[in-house]
């Protein structure tokens, strides 16, 4: 079990600017990894299961991983939200999946899962950042 003093020491160590950037990158790449680093393992387990699973469900519902096309502002914003999902997004881009099928009944539901998965991961990154700064 993590004691308060070790958690505080970990926060102090993570408050260095370089470490903070690394923490945010790790937290982005693997949802929940930032919390794991900061000793919040129970939270990390929930995030590492729930967020990639939401992304996977979104893909299975024929949702689309949007391209960075800012001539269509909503498409560009959706692309940023997708990107925030981290590793699931990278893997999807590598295997060229996530094309989406507009005619599928579940297309919009899929998009909703994909986008919200990324946005929730962004909140998780911010939470890990706050913990590292000792705000929580």
């Amino acid at each position: 079990m993590t004691t308060k003093s070790t958690a505080a020491e970990r926060s102090r160590a993570a408050a260095e600017p370089g470490t903070l950037v690394l923490l945010c990158l790790v937290a982005w790449l693997v949802p929940g990894a930032g919390h794991f680093w900061m000793g919040r393992r129970q939270k990390a387990v929930v995030f590492v299961i729930a967020l990639p699973l939401m992304f996977l469900i979104g893909l299975s519902l024929q949702g689309r991983v949007f391209p960075f096309d800012f001539s269509e502002p909503l498409v560009g914003l959706a692309a940023i939200a997708n990107l925030l999902a981290g590793l699931p997004w990278i893997l999807t881009r590598i295997v060229d999946a996530g094309g989406g099928m507009v005619t599928a009944v579940t297309y919009e539901y899929g998009n909703c899962f994909l986008i919200v998965s990324g946005l929730l991961n962004f909140l998780v990154i911010l939470d890990a950042y706050d913990i590292a700064l000792g705000r929580k």
Binding site: K43, V46, V116
Partner: protein
């Protein structure tokens, strides 16, 4: 997997779980917050669904 209500439940479950864990530190409070949020999602969806029922698409 194409039932609107089923997908609503799945979506609400994941979002509530993440928010519950994010907002609270104590596991009991996390479960309580997540459950309340989940109930809120479902109840709001049903109420809004009924309110929109008279309006044509």
């Amino acid at each position: 997997m194409s039932s609107h209500f089923f997908l609503l439940i799945v979506f609400s479950f994941f979002v509530s779980a993440v928010f519950g864990v994010l907002l609270r530190d104590d596991p009991r409070q996390q479960i309580r917050t997540a459950a309340m949020m989940f109930g809120g999602f479902i109840a709001t969806a049903i109420v809004l669904g009924w309110l929109m029922f008279p309006f044509p698409l």
